[in-house]
């Protein structure tokens, strides 16, 4: 039986993709339509594939500025996360037998159970009084918010790495930091990928934290811009959907090219 194709499952799964793809199809066709076409059959293809809505959306929402902000925050977050979280996870994983590190591990992990709204009010107060209500502050906070989960999967991974290599390096006279940088950090590569993907997606799509942290609209990230422009989109759904599509496009394009890698990374993380 093992080599026969399961057509029943295949067909059901193909039918199921309609649910996934329909909203996306809708977004694309509405983004290309004119307001006049909206009164007709909404599901029909647009009469022409002009980019008028997109150029207008880019202009109105100052798209490239928001894109720049989103890229900046995401990259900064990933850098902070990869550097600090892998470091702490390594220290914890190699010292789990000690009370202090064990405590530290559970102290960090427990944050997974703390929903953000619980610390939101004081955090807003604190970040703004420290002048961190900007993109750099946002990157740092993102790093903190993802610590629990990342430590969880990093520690799980480091534990599977053999200690022998490290011991050999220490005998050769390397200190602990050198061991980390030269041996462990490169060996953690598959986990870096997983952490980078998950953190980047979360930072890129995050809405609540930027909403409460950022005051200056020139720093708004892509999701925040969609929110901020709701009032101005009003009932011009074509413009609004063009703007949504633009905001989603960078990730979708990236996904199409590296989806195998992204899915692989996430699955690897879940097995830890």
């Amino acid at each position: 039986m093992s080599n026969r194709i399961n057509w029943k499952a295949t067909i059901l799964l193909i039918l199921g993709t309609i649910f996934i793809l329909f909203p996306i199809y809708l977004t694309v066709i509405i983004a290309f339509k004119t307001p006049q076409e909206m009164s007709g059959n909404i599901l029909a293809l647009p009469e022409s594939w002009g980019f008028g809505n997109f150029t207008e959306a880019i202009e109105v929402t100052n798209f490239f500025n928001a894109l720049g902000n989103s890229v900046f925050v995401t990259v900064l977050t990933v850098i902070i996360v990869i550097l600090t979280h892998s470091l702490v996870a390594y220290a914890i994983a190699r010292n789990m037998h000690k009370k202090f590190y064990k405590f530290l591990y559970f102290y960090f992990i427990s944050a997974m159970f703390i929903p953000f709204p619980i610390i939101m009010l004081p955090l807003v107060l604190q970040t703004s009084s420290w002048g961190m209500d900007n993109l750099v502050g946002l990157g740092i906070l993102n790093g903190v918010m993802h610590l629990a989960f990342n430590v969880f999967i990093y520690v799980g991974y480091v534990k599977t790495l053999p200690v022998e290599l490290e011991e050999a390096a220490i005998i050769d006279g390397a200190n602990t930091f050198q061991v980390f940088w030269k041996i462990i950090f490169p060996m953690m590569k598959p986990m870096h990928a997983t952490v980078a993907i998950l953190t980047a997606l979360a930072a890129w799509n995050d809405f609540m934290l930027p909403l409460v942290i950022l005051s200056d609209s020139s720093m708004y990230t892509l999701p925040l811009v969609q929110y901020a422009f709701q009032g101005q989109f009003s009932t011009d759904y074509n413009l609004a959907f063009a703007s949504y599509l633009l905001a989603m496009l960078p990730m979708v394009v990236l996904y199409i090219f590296v989806q195998k890698w992204i899915i692989g990374g996430v699955m690897r993380g879940s097995l830890k």
């Binding site: 202009e59 109105v60 100052n62 490239f64 500025n65 894109l67 720049g68 902000n69 890229v71 900046f72 009010l121 807003v124 107060l125 703004s128 009084s129 002048g131 209500d133 900007n134 993109l135 750099v136 409460v212 005051s215 200056d216 609209s217 020139s218 720093m219 929110y227 901020a228 709701q230 009032g231 101005q232 009003s234 009932t235």
Partner: protein, 409 residues
Amino acid sequence: MKKHYGKFLVSAGTAAAILAGCSGGSDDGSVTLELFSNKSESIDTYQALIEQFEEENPDINVELEAPPEAETVLRTRLTKNDMPDILSIGGNATYGEFAREGVLRDLSDTDLLSQVQSSYVDMLGQLAGPDVEGSFGVPYATNANHVIYNKAKVEELGIEIPKTWDEFIAALETAKEAGEVPLYLTLQEAWTGMAIWNGIAGNIVPEDFAEMKNNGEASFVEDYDEVADKMLQLLEYGHSDNFGIGYGDGNNAFANGEGVFYIQGNWAIPEIREANPDIELGTFALPSSNNPEENDLVSGVDVALAISESTEHPEEAEKFLSFMLEQDVAEQYMNEQSAFSAVEGVYQEDEVFDGIREYFENDRLASFQDHYYPAGMGVENLVLDMLINGNKTEGLEVIDSEWEAAQNR
């Protein structure tokens, strides 16, 4: 939200600037002011005026912020101790609180207040309360909470402009029988219900209800009973999905001929006209009682301009306020926004307002009741709950108890 293209390239520069902690002033001696507005309707108008101001004052940049849920955002900013330099906000409970809490700059010594009608200065003073010395806001635009009607339809149905509640209901009946949507409701957005609530309450509920309520001399159950009845009655004249359509879609639908009457403020008029430039509209005051003499127009300060106490550039901010008060600037604002002017010598001449002009001329104005409710009780959602459940007594009891809870918090 100024439009600058090619800023993509500058993004890295932006980041560097953030790191350097640029806050307002920069090296070339220019000053950046932040203007916070609570109205998304006026973004384009403000942007055009800002451009003009910046041309006249090349060393001052003004950046406009007009986010959704502006009131929550503004309060977040207050918590952050990060108030914008200039505020353009409604004359409501939030304004009153800001004035009391010393968040705003006293403008009594400037020549700004002499350029606007003193009755509106007094109205803002009432919001702040009797214990507050000084004037903290310049009333700029005022509004009218009225019934908007589709002229063509009203003429076609042979409806006379109603002067009493019974006449209004009769008009709605006529429209209903003709198969029209008599009253277009947009209650998916709860605040739109407050236009009706305030419109009815303005003439029925005692003017000093809030004070009486706080002294335990009045309650919603007693004093708003009739308001609730009438609101529930109006629901019968809506469309098939009264709670499923929001403000934007409602403006659009009304502009395209759905609905004969529409209870909204003057701010909706430019939006409706944008959706259909050819539509002919008229307005009248909501006749909430059966005595035409008693039916005044509900009107308040729609836009008050204020300067925050913490601004680093009070002179430049005052300069911007003076600019806004210039006759041609104020005229442009009032025309584009279909607003009424608090600025002396500037009048709203749009013929859509022919039906309500006499109220302004004869000072037959009532205030928005909810401007005196405690901030943060979210009354619009309570009113909506009552409308959806149709349970008047229970709904009003909840509003009473939420008022008390909000006062105690």
